[in-house]
């Protein structure tokens, strides 16, 4: 287990360097257009401004020198600054906790509702509940997230006035319920369906029949034997989903005015804040790599037959 972990962590290094290099080159070197072309409106920027920024961001150096400097600073924990001199460390430090909060709420909602619906419908196949879950999940999957977002915001926020339409800066838990539901809605449907299939398959397996034949109470058969073995595909889904959620939810964050990582990176792209884009994407790469590792390790915990050497 220890050796496996070490090997996986070592594998991260070349992947990390490769992806960051790719991102850096794509954003800084290959991006079409002079970085100052649209910065000052419908007229060119004054030469003094261009000269100052060129020097500040080493734009007159070859790209590998720029990249080396960037990586050097990165390993010292310095993500650099935006065009305007705002520290990107600060930007990430304010945006990331918001994204994390939203992601956790979304994950909790999708796990809770998705799993419950999946387990119940899997146990009673072809019953009324099963059909209800199938139809409603189909509906959720078919709806684009912005439709769900605007609809719920309008219904709960504007029409009925139950919640504030947008989330305030302190991000209280109660205001995150609606955005969390919206963000988790599509995954919730997938989780319900995967859990349903997995449960109903394992329901007919030998060990379940044995457990029932032994006279174990149904609660124990389902709760311990059936559920634990059926959870593996669901955990894979949840794990990659957390990775995706931590990458920010551009649409949901935009609709509910949440200042998270998704909105920040979107805005950075539109305003050509190259330094911010690179830094946030670098962090996202790290998050994805670590989340994948975590999911792999969780398999072993769930299924004792899986061993890592």
């Amino acid at each position: 287990m220890g050796r496996y972990l070490l090997r996986r962590l070592l594998q991260l290094v070349p992947v990390f360097i490769g992806t960051t290099l790719l991102i850096y080159v794509l954003v800084w070197v290959m991006v079409p257009g002079d970085p100052f072309a649209g910065k000052c409106g419908e007229r060119p920027c004054p030469p003094g401004f261009v000269a100052m920024m060129t020097e500040k961001f080493q734009l007159d150096q070859p790209w590998y020198v720029q990249y080396a400097t960037y990586m050097k600073n990165l390993f010292q924990g310095d993500f650099g600054t935006t065009w305007s001199g705002r520290s990107i460390n600060d930007i990430i430090a304010t945006a990331y906790p918001n994204t994390l909060k939203l992601a956790l709420v979304a994950l909790a909602i999708e796990a809770l509702i998705g799993l419950t619906a999946g387990v119940l419908s899997g146990l009673r196949r072809n019953g009324f509940l099963d059909n209800l879950v199938l139809v409603s999940t189909l509906f959720l999957i078919a709806l684009p997230i912005f439709v769900v977002g605007f609809l719920l915001q309008w219904l709960f926020g504007v029409q009925w006035g139950l919640v504030k339409p947008t989330v305030s800066a302190e991000m209280p838990f109660s205001e995150l319920l609606v955005p969390g539901f919206v963000l988790g809605s599509a995954s919730m449907a997938y989780i319900a369906r995967v859990a349903r299939t997995s449960i109903s398959e394992n329901r007919r397996s030998d060990y379940v029949r044995t457990a029932i034949a032994k006279g174990l109470p149904m609660r124990r058969v389902v709760g311990v034997h059936l559920l634990r073995n059926s959870l593996i595909p669901v955990i894979t889904l949840l794990g990659t989903d957390l990775g995706a959620l931590m990458g920010g939810a551009i649409v949901t964050e935009g609709i509910f005015n949440i200042r998270g990582i998704g909105g920040t990176v979107y805005q950075a792209i539109t305003t050509k804040e190259s330094a911010t884009v690179v830094s946030i994407v670098v962090i996202l790469v790290l998050v994805y790599l670590l989340m994948n590792l975590l999911v792999d390790l969780l398999y072993a915990a769930l299924d004792p037959r899986i061993r890592y050497e």
């Binding site: 002079d34 409106g41 419908e42 000269a51 915001q153 504030k164 800066a169 979107y266």
Partner: protein, 545 residues
């Protein structure tokens, strides 16, 4: 010109002259005095891109805050009329070249220090000095000695650094005493006093020069009706009434919170739910079918703004050399239909070269702006004609596709030219090609005036070497008239000369004005009276609750 971050290079959605009092309150004088005096409002905004230093802000998010925090030498009345003295006691000149500016005594910055003549000259010298890299530096180019504080990088992007400029200060600025200074321009410029109302010309307190601009910009100290309280990035900028303010436009309410939104739709829903008191521009999704008017009722504010949507010709391309062809194309564009069908009547068809809200502009002076299919066909037959495909270009990262395609289609239908519209992915690439003079077809342009005068609609756009004359239009007669007009002894004479210049421009048709921008704003029940400034921002000093 300030650029709106949200529309990404569209003409900044500025706005208007209109005075809007909502009809719901019974009394004429608007709101309840008690509510108003301690009142607070929340208005929408966007995160400023750079720290709040007036001479370095060129986008609307930060520009609006700077407009609230500072009062300049002159102010532009909300109705779009001629500028009036604000901080200035008097601005005098005999030859439009040397101006003696006296400022009112006893005016204070928010930190309690007095506004003196040196606060202006030092601020302007800082902004013009090229190593400081101020984005608005070009506004000071009229002043004598501007060239001496500039330095060009000898090898553009290369490793060599730009040398130090010859001088640290512009020779044209001279402080006479604490309340008087003299400005000498490099050439007579009648419109100079009008320019002084732009935010690049505001005074900076002494404390600015003891800090770095970034430190100052995070905690700006101005001299306007409100002072700065706090700024939480991407969340909120808080402002409160400056009680020592003595000029005309005192605050009637106390606190103004500027809530920073990423999406205008989020702000709009907050407005509908009563969590936001003013939104300058409602989202496009609310405009369809006049939804916003149904949603807001009497709280909807429709106004027009001093900015124009234009299609410019690349005059450096031989295909577009013939003025008859250009006029034929312009006459073939059905502006009324475009504004009705595509903009739901929220924009109006352009019929003059300068925006009609601008002092000195002549309404309806664009004879090439009518829709006249017969005349267009006749002119096209007389012209040298057009071979091949005519492509109308626009930047595809803002909503220009629909109207540009309608223009191309209109030209195709009337003249039979094989015309179509094509989007260039981003505003930056679009501007780069325009700046490099590489356009091969007519392209979308837009202009929002920097200051209210017809001069701003002629010199930058249609005079040789003008800062936004990207199509390289050049007519020596226009240049001569514009020069004469700019150097006239007073504005009336300047406006007369500009009118003559515009007649020549109208004959040449170097670009096609298509529509005048409109703005659709909304406010909450709480606000009983509100006015918009000449560029469509909320005039926070007019708000009554």
């Amino acid at each position: 010109m300030r650029v709106s971050k949200r529309t990404s290079g569209a003409v900044a959605l500025g706005a208007a002259v209109a005075l809007i009092a909502s009809g719901c309150s019974g009394s004429d004088d608007g709101g309840d005095a008690g509510n108003t005096a301690d009142g607070a409002i929340v208005i929408d905004g966007t995160q400023p891109e750079v720290p709040l230093v007036p001479a370095n802000t060129t986008e609307t998010g930060g520009g609006a805050i700077i407009d609230y925090l500072w009062t300049g030498l002159v102010e532009y009345p909300n109705n779009g009329g001629a500028p009036q003295n604000a901080v200035a006691e008097s601005i005098e000149t005999t030859d439009s070249k040397v101006y003696t500016i006296k400022i009112k005594k006893g005016l204070k910055f928010h930190d309690g220090s007095e506004v003196k003549a040196a606060n202006f000259t030092k601020a302007w010298n800082w902004a013009a000095y090229s190593p400081n890299g101020a984005q608005n530096a070009s506004f000071f180019a009229d002043i004598q000695g501007f060239a001496d504080v500039q330095s060009e990088d000898p090898d553009a992007d290369g490793p060599q650094k730009a040398p130090e400029p010859k001088a640290k200060e512009m020779s044209g600025l001279k402080v006479v005493d604490d309340y008087t200074f003299e400005v000498t321009l490099s050439a007579p410029t009648a419109v100079f006093p009008t320019k002084l109302g732009y935010s690049a010309f505001v005074p900076l307190p002494d404390v600015f020069f003891t800090q770095t601009p970034d430190e100052f910009g995070k905690k700006p100290v101005g001299n306007g009706p409100v002072k700065f309280v706090s700024w939480e990035d991407d969340v909120m900028i808080k402002l409160t009434r400056f009680d020592d303010y003595t000029l005309r436009d005192k605050m009637k309410i106390k606190d103004v919170d500027v809530k920073l939104y990423q999406e205008d739709t989020a702000a709009y829903n907050d407005l509908l739910a009563g969590n936001l008191d003013f939104q300058q521009q409602v989202p496009v999704s609310a405009l369809a079918g006049d939804k916003w008017k149904n949603d807001l009722g009497e709280r909807a504010i429709q106004s027009t703004t001093p900015s124009t949507g234009i299609i410019a010709f690349p005059m450096y391309d031989a295909k577009f050399k013939d003025p008859k062809l250009r006029k034929a194309i312009s006459l073939a564009v059905n502006r009324q239909e475009i504004t009705d069908k595509i903009f739901f009547g929220n924009r109006t068809p352009a019929d003059s070269w300068a925006n009609p809200l601008t002092p000195g502009a002549v309404a309806g002076n664009c004879t090439a702006c009518q829709f006249n299919a017969d005349e267009a066909k006749r002119l096209y037959a007389e012209s040298s004609g057009y071979q091949g495909e005519m492509v109308f270009y626009y930047n595809a990262d803002a909503s220009h596709k629909d109207w540009m395609e309608a223009v191309a289609q209109s030209v195709k239908n009337v003249l039979g030219i094989n015309a179509r519209a094509e989007g260039i992915p981003t505003f930056a690439v679009f501007r780069q090609q325009i700046n490099a003079h590489k356009m091969t077809g007519p392209y979308r342009a837009g202009w929002q005036q920097d200051y209210p005068d017809v001069e701003n609609w002629v010199n930058p756009l249609y005079v040789k070497g003008g800062s936004s004359n990207d199509g390289l239009y050049s007519n020596p007669q226009v240049d001569a008239l514009a020069k004469e007009a700019s150097g006239a002894a007073n504005l009336d004479e300047a406006h007369k000369k500009f009118a003559e210049a515009v007649k020549l421009i109208d004959a040449d048709v170097p670009s096609i004005p298509v529509y005048f921008q409109g703005q659709q704003s909304g406010h909450s029940d709480k606000i009983k009276k509100v006015e918009l400034t000449n560029v469509g921002e909320i005039d926070i000093t007019s708000v009554e609750l």
